[in-house]
């Protein structure tokens, strides 16, 4: 292999392409041979060849990059395999799973943090997305520009560069967000009250969730004892374990554009006649939203909820960029995937990491199955 990294890749890529072409022809000929054995017509044999020939990249890739890795990781999850250690790999049975599920505090923290994002973050995110979608659905001029600007955060989303900008803005002392909160608070007293109420609620709930993490509720008692926040309090964003998850929620709300598009599609599917009929009967817009649009949007809300939950398990970049160098607070916001990465690649405990991967996989499968089961019960699909 050439030493130059760029040349090295180009050679590997050329070999990969060659491998794919060879395996495509191989799979195609094999399939045609089998079809001939079964006595298919020449036309059908030709189609069998073409089908497997064109689908081969995916089939081969599925075997190499999905099936085999999953098989190996299932096996390793029952061992104490570690890269870089000289010790022989030992079969340990279900011990990894037992440790993760019942003894591992960090795993428990990641589960509870996901719960926080689901219970507190997702309703906010879905609410804002729905609100924006309803506004955009009024057939305004310039709707496209608004739609673009609401979707742009999804594109920029979790790029490190954009997250660093958030870090600058979320700085507790000099960050622009707290500066704005401070100046509005001084100029307009009701906002000051609102700000303090929000801070209080947020800190109590965050302390409660942190208590769930450790099983000790000292922090919650301390927050309640400290009482209502003082007049000059501002959110602590990336500085305090009480606020780290809220910063992630802020990022989630900022990136609600994808959910908004799904709601827009849902709103478009609602027959106009329903609204017209209700209007004739004297329903005001507020009633029409809650009695017509909202029930018909439940499938979309449900879909967003499930997708949002699954992505909350997978949050990685915001935690890495905002908190990685502040070890004491990482555990207050750690996600399952971040924990998986930390465990597997800082200590190279492959066996343990594999067990975490399988647990993440199973949790996501369970959520998906529950989605399919429940959607019939919760959700209004039919109008007529």
């Amino acid at each position: 292999m050439p030493q130059n990294p760029y040349l090295n890749v180009l050679v590997t890529v050329a070999l990969t392409v060659l491998f794919i072409i060879v395996s495509s022809y191989g799979l195609g000929y094999l399939a045609r041979y089998i079809a001939r054995l079964f006595g298919s017509s020449p036309k059908k044999q030709e189609n069998t060849f073409a089908g497997y020939f064109f689908a081969a990249p995916w089939i081969v890739g599925f075997l190499i990059f999905v099936v085999i890795p999953l098989g190996f990781s299932l096996y390793w999850s029952f061992t104490n395999y570690r890269i870089a250690s000289g010790e022989p790999t030992v079969w340990v049975g279900a011990q990894n799973y037992q440790t993760i599920l019942f003894e591992d505090d960090s795993f428990r923290a990641s589960l509870i943090n996901t719960l926080y994002l689901t219970v507190i973050g997702l309703p906010l995110q879905i609410g804002v997305a729905l609100f924006l979608a309803v506004l955009l659905n009024q057939q305004l001029r310039g709707e496209r520009i608004f739609r673009m600007s609401f979707y742009l955060p999804v594109i920029l989303g979790f790029n490190t560069a954009v997250l660093l900008c958030w870090r600058l803005m979320l700085n507790t002392g000099t960050g622009i967000i707290n500066q704005i909160i401070r100046s509005i608070s001084t100029a307009f007293p009701p906002f000051n009250w609102l700000n303090r109420v929000v801070i209080y609620i947020q800190e109590v709930s965050a302390a409660f969730f942190l208590g769930l993490n450790t099983g000790k509720y000292n922090l919650l008692l301390k927050v309640i004892e400290a009482g209502f926040p003082a007049e000059n309090r501002v959110p602590l964003w990336v500085q305090s374990p009480l606020w780290t998850k809220m910063s992630v929620v802020l990022l989630m709300v900022w990136g609600c554009g994808a959910m908004m598009l799904i709601f827009l599609a849902g709103l478009n599917n609602i027959p106009k006649e329903l609204h017209e009929a209700a209007e004739v009967d004297g329903a005001n817009p507020w009633q029409r939203f809650w009695k017509i649009s909202f029930p018909l949007l439940t499938p979309y809300i449900f879909y967003n909820l499930v997708v949002g939950m699954i992505s909350a398990l997978q949050i990685f970049e915001p935690i890495f960029v905002l908190y990685r160098d502040n070890q004491p607070i990482v555990s207050s916001t750690i996600s399952m995937v971040y924990y998986l990465w930390q465990k597997s690649f800082s200590h190279f405990e492959i066996g343990y990491g594999s067990a975490i991967s399988w647990i993440v996989l199973v949790i996501i499968l369970i959520i998906t199955v529950i989605q399919f089961r429940l959607q019939d019960r919760w959700v209004t699909y039919d109008i007529y």
């Binding site: 990294p5 089908g51 064109f54 660093l164 500066q179 799904i262 398990l313």
Partner: protein, 280 residues
């Protein structure tokens, strides 16, 4: 009184929407504004909305920073290489699922759809071991090669839907004229699905350009870092004063391609998100 309602309504609507737009785009504004400031201004306790004397110092400095320029080149290089292979292989597989009738198609298609439920991160540990065995750690290979095997079930699905809508008679008459499947795929079908291909290319580009986890795992030396990895090293807790103008300049230059691509592709994206999103 009643006749003023529509006017009041649209005034309120526009005000709220404009407010939301300002909030949503504020991080971008702040990024650009901060990149033009001095270090003192970015760390000062007072609000500096727009710098008093905008300075391009950070920009001239970053264009002389070899590490930054190299990471920019690395990103462009790896994204281009990965994008081309992924796009072509996805187009081939989507053709198999939409235009060819072969035994086992439904089974394979169902398998492909069910891989959408597997979170990619559940595979990183065994894949890392696999690439370690191949001695690929510290090269770009692990970031590029998997894509060549039609990575991305949702994208295949999106393209398959588009290809299914092309009338069947088109390929049949081409067959009669003696064309084979590869010719039909490349010369007839692909030109007809340019718009969905552009959408998919945009999604792939955004995903690759923003990707942090895998580059972080596989590129272990600074001369291989892609932009997200390099930019994340600019912020360092051990520095007492963060060089915010430099970081934000790097951020502006990192996000610029995303914004340009989004601007040109937004028409396709905003429509197709809905289609692909709901079937997932």
């Amino acid at each position: 009184m009643k006749k003023y309602f529509p006017i009041i309504k649209s005034v309120v609507l526009y005000t709220v929407l404009t407010g939301a737009t300002v909030l949503m785009s504020f991080p971008l504004f702040w990024m650009i504004s901060s990149s033009l400031k001095t270090v003192q201004e970015t760390n000062s306790p007072g609000v500096v909305w727009i710098p008093q004397n905008p300075t391009l110092e950070a920009y001239t400095a970053i264009f002389q920073n070899q590490d930054f320029l190299r990471s920019y080149f690395n990103s462009v290089f790896y994204v281009t290489l990965a994008l081309v292979g992924t796009l072509i292989s996805i187009a081939a597989v989507a053709y198999a699922f939409s235009r060819v009738d072969w035994p086992g198609r439904n089974v394979v298609f169902f398998l492909m759809l069910s891989t959408m439920m597997i979170p990619p991160q559940a595979l990183i540990v065994p894949q890392y071991v696999f690439f370690n065995k191949l001695d690929w750690i510290g090269t770009f290979n692990p970031l590029i090669v998997p894509g060549y095997f039609a990575g991305g079930a949702a994208m295949i699905f999106l393209l398959r839907q588009a290809m299914s809508q092309i009338p069947k008679e088109l390929d049949e008459s081409a067959f009669v004229d003696g064309a084979n499947h590869i010719q039909i795929w490349w010369e007839i079908i692909l030109p007809l699905v340019k718009a969905p291909m552009a959408t998919i290319a945009t999604f792939l580009f955004v995903g690759l350009w923003n990707s942090l986890l895998t580059p972080l795992m596989y590129l272990q030396t600074v001369d291989l870092y892609t932009l997200p990895v390099y930019v994340s090293t600019l912020y360092n807790i051990n520095q007492t004063v963060q060089p915010w103008p430099t970081i934000m300049t790097a951020a502006v230059l990192t996000t610029a391609p995303l914004i340009v691509v989004f601007f040109f592709a937004q028409r396709y994206i905003l429509e197709s998100v809905v289609v692909s999103g709901l079937k997932g």
